[in-house]
Subunit: 204 residues, 2 copies
């Protein structure tokens, strides 16, 4: 199998970190997203949505969507668990992974795509009002998240999980979205410092 | 356990259909989303995101987010499987469930929330340009989906899955978003007719 990868873009980063946490190394092909290499005819045959990353199996089957790729590896190699083991853990990690994705990573991405001049290649029609609305939503969510992180070590509970990976990537994407973690959100800042110290989060 | 339910709104409908497919009946408390009952203090303590549905366990643990609730029941009662059994099935169903959600249900919801006067109670600041952009994205996705459904019975493969549930709910939500399935998309129309005939999709 081989991973069609997308460098430092948020979704490729999520799979890269997930694989490092699992200790899995596979062949990777790098694409330049800003040069729109994911819109080529060859890649569109692999993934009609034209998004990275994509995991291509040896028989040619393509698994697209970040979390689907993660789930495939979680099922193939359950240790260390990053998506929960009991029904309740699985549900709570899914809940937080989705909250982070829908209410934090997505608003941060919308803010970048609809406000930053550097995003025009991937979002040719920017809607600035939508970008600003999402900056505000991301700020609201960080306040909720900071409160949650006062009472536990990681986003979805005591253990590190895929929800922390998504949250880490969203935090690292704040700056191009003209956002930042507020000084008073010390629980979120402490959490980010701890997760940033994990070897899996180093880009290479 | 009991389900904090939201009537005919899209996410509550997804959990209702999932439970019927599983043959699971549980206590349900109905909330009126248009009357913003999900913004009460009591409900906010249960789910700070103020969204429905929420599954409340007997010990008070709250599981929010539609797919997290579905995953909990899938783990508790695997039969009939709606989220796959092998690693590859799990990955492909996750891939399609997410494609449908992010590229179809979400754009349809954005179109409704940012264009329909009836959505002002839940989306007080509407951004019409964003709504229209999402109408166009939903149309683009329906064309891709129609092509896919020419070669298989269900959204993620031969078997009915959670991806079909999300897709069904998105299709039923097209009208308030001022969208419709095009006449020429006969594979998508046939699929919708077959899924609509399943007893699980009847609202009660």
């Amino acid at each position: 199998m081989r991973l069609h990868d997308g460098g430092r873009a948020p979704n490729p980063r999520r799979v890269q970190i997930f694989l490092k946490e699992k200790g899995i190394e596979i062949e990777r092909l790098q694409y330049d997203i800003n040069a729109l290499e994911q819109k080529s005819d060859a890649f569109t045959r692999l993934n009609p949505m034209q998004t990275l990353p994509v995991l291509e199996l040896d028989d040619g089957t393509a698994i697209a969507e970040t979390v689907a790729i993660c789930r495939y590896f979680e099922a193939l190699q359950p240790e260390p668990p990053l998506m929960g083991t009991t029904p309740l853990e699985k549900a709570l990690i899914e809940m937080w992974q989705r909250r982070i994705e829908i209410r934090f990573l997505l608003p941060v991405a919308y803010a970048f795509r609809h406000l930053h001049p550097g995003a025009l290649s991937i979002e040719p029609v920017q809607v600035a009002d939508w970008g600003r609305m999402n900056q505000s939503r991301a700020r609201d969510f960080m306040a909720i998240l900071d409160t949650e992180l006062k009472s536990r070590a990681h986003v979805a509970g005591a253990a590190f999980s895929i929800a922390d990976i998504t949250c880490y990537v969203a935090c690292r994407f704040l700056k191009p979205a003209q956002l930042a973690i507020a000084e008073e959100h010390t629980a979120l800042r402490d959490w980010l410092e701890r997760v940033s110290a994990r070897p899996s989060t180093r880009y290479d």
